[in-house]
């Protein structure tokens, strides 16, 4: 049984301007001990998908369809009490922008020990001891357990958030753009930390980011979203060698390289679509260099073309053969 099996998940936002179909029927599976990177640009629905997994979608959004099978149980149907039991204990999250996510009025010791005290019926002393251990684990001196968030640097806050997320030994860690707000060097150190922790704790991870390079270095599998849909999913080595979906291909090639010869790169024309009134047919078709009339009418479904390779494109074989 896989750790996480998402079937036809749909999460929509009901706004006065119309219904934003942020996540519009996505399905994927994730095994234990695997790191899956969920990539895409802003507005593609990846963050909404992550929040859906913890049923934490903010108003005016809500899950409107599909199942999220975590360890065999569909958590979409859970009530608040049941959800509270799995939140943080089974699935926890590292949020984007640690400064906004840490409470400035409480020490990080308080914040890390809080879920421990709540979930594991520990007392304050045990909670703090565990908090100190966790800080050491993420590379912060245990003595800093008394610090307030504003006393820490950006990188350290992010590490504190990771410590907090690991407090109750979750099975699945969701990391939402953990390094976007950080400088290059600090960001690399944080990703390094995450990698080591995964190995140490045999942790499953869902990494949400727009930066494919980070996924290349830290994840086992990669799923790419575009306009609320999943366009390709497979393991990392395969997708970087042979990306099948035109969007995957363009996205991977969109990064100026620092090693090897300097190349002139080509951009993807057009811009991301309106999720209130998405076009019929393939959502990437308006920007796709290989688009055919069929693409504009008929939406491609996510096909399983190999054991662990899924693509949603009508003409992936033709495109592949031409390359």
């Amino acid at each position: 049984m896989s750790l996480l099996k998402v079937n036809n998940l749909k999460t929509h936002f009901f706004t006065p301007f119309g219904t934003v179909r942020a996540v519009d029927d996505i399905s994927f599976e994730m095994e234990s001990s695997v790191a899956l990177g969920l990539a895409g640009e802003s507005g593609c629905g990846k963050t909404t998908a992550a929040y859906s997994l913890m049923n934490l979608v903010p108003l005016p959004g809500r899950i409107v369809g599909g199942q999220i099978n975590f360890k065999g149980k569909n958590i979409v149907e859970y009530n608040e009490t049941q959800l509270r039991d799995i939140r943080w204990k089974e699935i926890s999250m590292v949020f984007q922008g640690a400064m906004a996510s840490l409470n400035p009025l409480y020490t990080i010791g308080d914040q890390i020990s809080e879920p421990i005290i709540y979930h594991e019926d520990a007392d304050k002393k045990e909670g703090w001891k565990r908090a100190e251990e966790l800080l050491e684990l993420v590379g912060i001196e245990a003595a800093r357990v008394d610090n307030y968030p504003w006393e820490l640097s950006g990188g350290m806050r992010q590490r504190a958030m990771i410590a907090m997320a690991l407090a109750c030994n979750p099975s699945l860690l969701i990391a939402d753009e953990p390094t976007t707000a950080l400088d290059v060097i600090v960001s690399a150190q944080v990703m390094d930390l995450i990698k080591n922790l995964r190995k140490k704790l045999d942790l499953s991870m869902l990494l949400i980011t727009h930066d494919i390079s980070v996924i290349a270095q830290t994840c086992d599998e990669l799923a790419i979203m575009y306009a609320g849909k999943l366009v390709e999913k497979t393991d990392v080595p395969t997708i970087f060698k042979t990306p099948l979906h035109p969007y995957s291909n363009a996205l991977i090639k969109a990064f100026p390289n620092i090693k090897g010869k300097k190349k002139k790169l080509s951009s993807i024309p057009g811009s991301p679509i309106d999720l209130i009134a998405p076009p019929l047919g393939c959502r990437f078709a308006p920007r796709c260099p290989f688009a055919q009339p069929l693409c504009l009418e008929d939406e491609p479904i996510l096909d399983q073309i190999e054991k662990n390779h899924f693509v949603a494109c009508h003409f992936w074989e033709d495109i592949q053969s031409k390359r």
Partner: protein
């Protein structure tokens, strides 16, 4: 050719469009009332500290560094929107600080222009795109009739790829996408036909798939309009894509300066080496190398050690480094490094 393009060699033989000499910008730190009575020493945030470099005609010069290194402040010092604490900025041999006449200062806008990082903040929410773009022409009285004005605006919109023109003109900035807004910002800057452009992190806030479009546009403009630019970025991979020469900044100082390919292939300063090692590579086969840097807390520009600013994190630090600040020394053709190890 030792890492230089033919253009780079050509530009080095011309005179610099921009010459920065010993430029510094120190910000005074406001203290509490008690501190201001009892302590005599004033604390300064040395955002930019005694930097010098030249930008040659027709090239894109990059300032690369992480947040807090002073690159954005330097950009504004060159644009003369903030005044230096000491040092000079020369534009075509004219010291910008000496221009006091209001009319002259206004005319500077026709030569030096800037595009910004945040396409959401840097456009007025109250004007249509047409009015936003026409505004610089009106301020400087560059056109006589509304028809002429519209002509000019459309022309530059086409060059910048802000199309379809008729559809975009009546819209408001919040109705456009991030990429389109940035093109509006670029169009606006170009309407004044400047010879020099400062681009302050123009793609950092844009989606990945949109970035290349803007970057390639800027490269195009360099060719078509012979535009000289200062390109400010925290992403060294982008600076490699865009810039002919770069200066790597750390806490207000330039630590390495020279042709981009030279520096990328042969990074000499330990900070540059760390910066390059830290860039994630979109290739799973390449294992990330150990980042040659000590400690986890980056220093800030407030309480600086007397010697080299990088000494607290440098893996090769010597005693000398902590006490004496190194100078920018030329180690190759147009390649300078500020590090004691190199001597």
């Amino acid at each position: 050719m030792g890492g230089y393009s033919v253009e780079a060699v050509k530009t080095m033989e011309k005179t610099p469009v921009i010459r920065v000499k010993n430029l510094s910008k120190w910000f005074e730190i406001r203290e509490s009332f008690l501190e201001s009575i009892f302590s005599k020493k004033k604390r300064h945030l040395k955002a930019v500290d005694d930097i010098s470099f030249d930008i040659y005609e027709g090239e894109i010069f990059g300032l690369v560094g992480e947040s807090g290194c002073g690159k954005t402040t330097t950009g504004r010092l060159i644009m003369h929107t903030i005044k230096p604490t000491s040092g000079q900025v020369f534009y075509k041999d004219k010291d910008l600080a000496l221009i006091k006449d209001k009319v002259e200062l206004k005319k500077l806008a026709l030569e030096l222009q800037m595009i910004f990082q945040d396409p959401y903040e840097y456009l007025s929410p109250w004007l249509t795109i047409k009015d936003t773009l026409a505004e610089p022409l009106r301020i400087h009285n560059l056109v006589e009739t509304p028809e002429e004005e519209l002509e000019m605006v459309k022309e530059v919109m086409e060059v910048v790829g802000l199309t379809p023109v008729e559809m975009i003109l009546p819209k408001y900035s919040y109705q456009l996408s991030g990429g389109q807004r940035q093109r509006v910002v670029i169009t606006r800057a170009l309407l004044l036909k400047p010879s020099f452009l400062v681009a302050d992190e123009p793609v950092s806030m844009l989606d990945v798939s949109i970035r290349l479009g803007i970057l390639n546009l800027l490269l195009d403009l360099k060719e078509k309009l012979e535009l000289t630019s200062l390109f400010i970025t925290h992403d060294i991979a982008v600076s490699r894509y865009m810039c002919d020469r770069i200066g790597v900044m750390y806490l207000g100082k330039i630590v390495e300066l020279g042709p981009t390919e030279t520096i990328i292939e042969n990074p000499t300063h330990p900070y540059t080496q760390a910066l390059i090692a830290a860039v994630p590579v979109p290739d799973p086969e390449i294992n990330p190398s150990e980042i040659p840097i000590k400690g986890r807390i980056p220093s800030n520009a407030l309480d600086l050690p007397p010697g080299c600013r990088f000494s607290s994190r440098c893996p090769h630090v010597l005693d000398k480094c902590i006490e004496i600040e190194p100078n920018l020394v030329e180690i190759g053709k147009d390649h300078s490094v500020s590090c004691h190890l190199v001597n």
